[in-house]
Amino acid sequence: MWDYTDKVNEHFRNPHNVGKVENPDGEGQVGSLACGDALKLMFKLDDEGRISEAKFQTFGCASAIASSSALTDMIIGKTLEEAEKITNKDIADYLGGLPKQKVHCSVMGREALEAAIYNYRTGKTWSKEIEGEVVCHCFGVTDKEIEEAIRN
């Protein structure tokens, strides 16, 4: 049984900001149905360039759901420059920590955000090469990314 913090449990059971944003300014999705990973993140900016609305949908375990929920909470009210600085460790810290084997579940949220910002800035959809050995088959997260996530 995973040792989830109360905060993780809370965000998993009552995730914040679930769903889709109408006419989003940025939209990012990582993964695909075929390889079994998926997180979609959308945001809308206000007049000052701050994120006024952010929503997510995820196909994932409790950590993935909680991390996504936490991330949306964290970015609302921030400028994109501020939001970009959020690391996986920040997400994990915000949740009071994640079990070691589950740290990678926070990676996807980070990447979906990156993809959404890229989409806002370029109008293009982000596609990403995955290198390294796939550790978490459910989300196509690689060991390199986990290493980075843990180092961060």
């Binding site: 049984m1 998993f12 059971r13 995730p15 679930v18 769903g19 999705q29 149905l33 075929a34 079994g36 998926a38 997180l39 979609k40 949908q57 995820t58 196909f59 994932g60 375990c61 409790a62 993935a64 759901i65 084997q101 589950k102 550790v135 978490c136 088959h137 459910c138």
Partner: protein, 384 residues
């Protein structure tokens, strides 16, 4: 909150009769059965009586064919590592892709030491590719280890047919029957089975006792080397209380076999039909013809198993994704992958496994709560 325990393939509750039978051996009769004095020696006959009961449940011709071990995993390791070591030319190990880790572990161990290892496929129903087996056994004397029933799907393999094929070419056949013993009738003395593993805690005895049936004449080298206990097949002072408990549990299981295949099966079927009816995008994994009476494994499209489990847990419902001992791993079930369960369904499967201790109210509880959970999680999913 009432606990609704529908995870009996992971472990079962200890039957009252089993606990009662064990208590004297935890209290006054704590002697060492190998002792020369009466106080210890008197205990031995209780160990032998238990051996007879285990033999009776599986239909062993002679109780001495039963060796007590510390768990199902040890039984499997003893059979496979010990069986391979005892063979003259044990070059080929044949197993399936859907075995428990306690079988695939020792098989890979042998592979690392130069044995040829073949892992047979299953089809989308979880049924074994017996055609491939025919081909493989021909290639020389083998040690073949194929489970009797799969822990995740409950699919039952044709052990009689497999054993015959293996024997035809001079091989040895071991079956991991940890999930089958006590759930379906069996009579090893009439089957082409050389070794059979079972585990106490899957049939209402405690965790930490198992047995390996070793047909008279089958050679096995011990895994735990040392004293002369278990006729030299397994060293270590005997776990008398649990062995006595396992005996009683086997007795009980024999008596309840018809209830298992009758009332438990009916509950399982109602649960399965109920879920399929009220959860769109759900499907049963595994051949419904050849299946344990207590197990159903159901996949839900677009949602993830752990999330379902935790929400069931909030409502006091205990179920499982795959095998409990794999729950430390993030890999999707190797069994469902071997069956080529498509898309997200492989990530979103839940196993419900019943026992004679379950009631109709348990089934009602699952059927009330599960659809709500599935709907809730689907709302989170980017795929719907």
């Amino acid at each position: 909150m009432k606990t609704v325990y529908v995870d009996n393939n992971a472990t079962t509750q200890i039957a009252d009769e089993v606990r009662e039978a064990m208590l004297p051996f935890l209290t006054d009769l704590w002697g060492n059965p190998s002792s020369m004095h009466t106080f210890g020696g008197q205990v031995k006959k209780h160990v032998e009586a238990a051996r007879e009961k285990v033999a009776a449940l599986i239909g062993a011709a002679d109780p001495q064919e039963v060796t007590f071990t510390s768990c199902g995993s040890e039984s499997n390791n003893l059979a496979i590592r010990g069986g391979a070591e005892a063979m003259d030319k044990p070059l080929h190990v044949i197993t399936s892709k859907v075995e428990h880790a306690a079988v695939s572990g020792p098989c890979h161990y042998l592979e690392d030491r130069g044995f040829r290892l073949t892992k047979l496929d299953v089809d989308s129903q979880g049924d074994l590719d017996t055609g491939a087996l025919v081909h493989e056994v021909k290639s020389g004397k083998s040690l073949t280890s194929i489970m009797w029933a799969n822990n995740e799907t409950g699919v039952i393999f044709p052990v009689s047919q497999i054993g015959e094929l293996v024997h035809e070419f001079g091989g040895i056949f071991h079956t991991d029957a940890v999930q089958a013993v006590g759930k379906i009738p069996m009579n090893v003395s009439e089957l082409p089975i050389d070794m059979l593993s079972l585990s106490g805690h899957k049939l209402h005895a405690p965790k930490g006792v198992g047995a390996l049936y070793i047909r008279r004449g089958t050679k096995v080298k011990p895994l735990v080397l040392g004293g002369h206990q278990e006729r030299g097949r397994r060293a270590g002072t005997e776990n008398v209380p649990y062995i006595v408990g396992l005996g009683v549990a086997c007795d009980l299981a024999g008596k309840k076999l018809s209830e298992e295949n009758d009332r438990v099966k009916a509950m399982r079927d109602r649960l399965e039909q109920g879920i399929l009816a009220c959860c769109p995008g759900s499907r049963v994994n595994g051949d419904s013809m050849h299946r344990l009476p207590n197990t159903t494994n159901i996949s839900f499209d677009f949602i993830e198993g752990e999330a379902i489990l935790l929400m069931l847990d909030d409502r006091g419902i205990c179920a499982s994704t795959g095998s409990a001992c794999a729950s430390g791993s993030l890999e999707p079930s190797h069994v469902l992958r071997a069956m080529n369960v498509p898309g997200t369904a492989v990530h979103g499967s839940i196993r419900f496994s019943l026992s004679t201790y379950n009631t109709d109210e348990d089934i009602d509880a699952v059927l009330t709560e599960l659809p709500k959970i599935v709907q809730r999680l689907r709302e989170l999913s980017p795929f719907v």
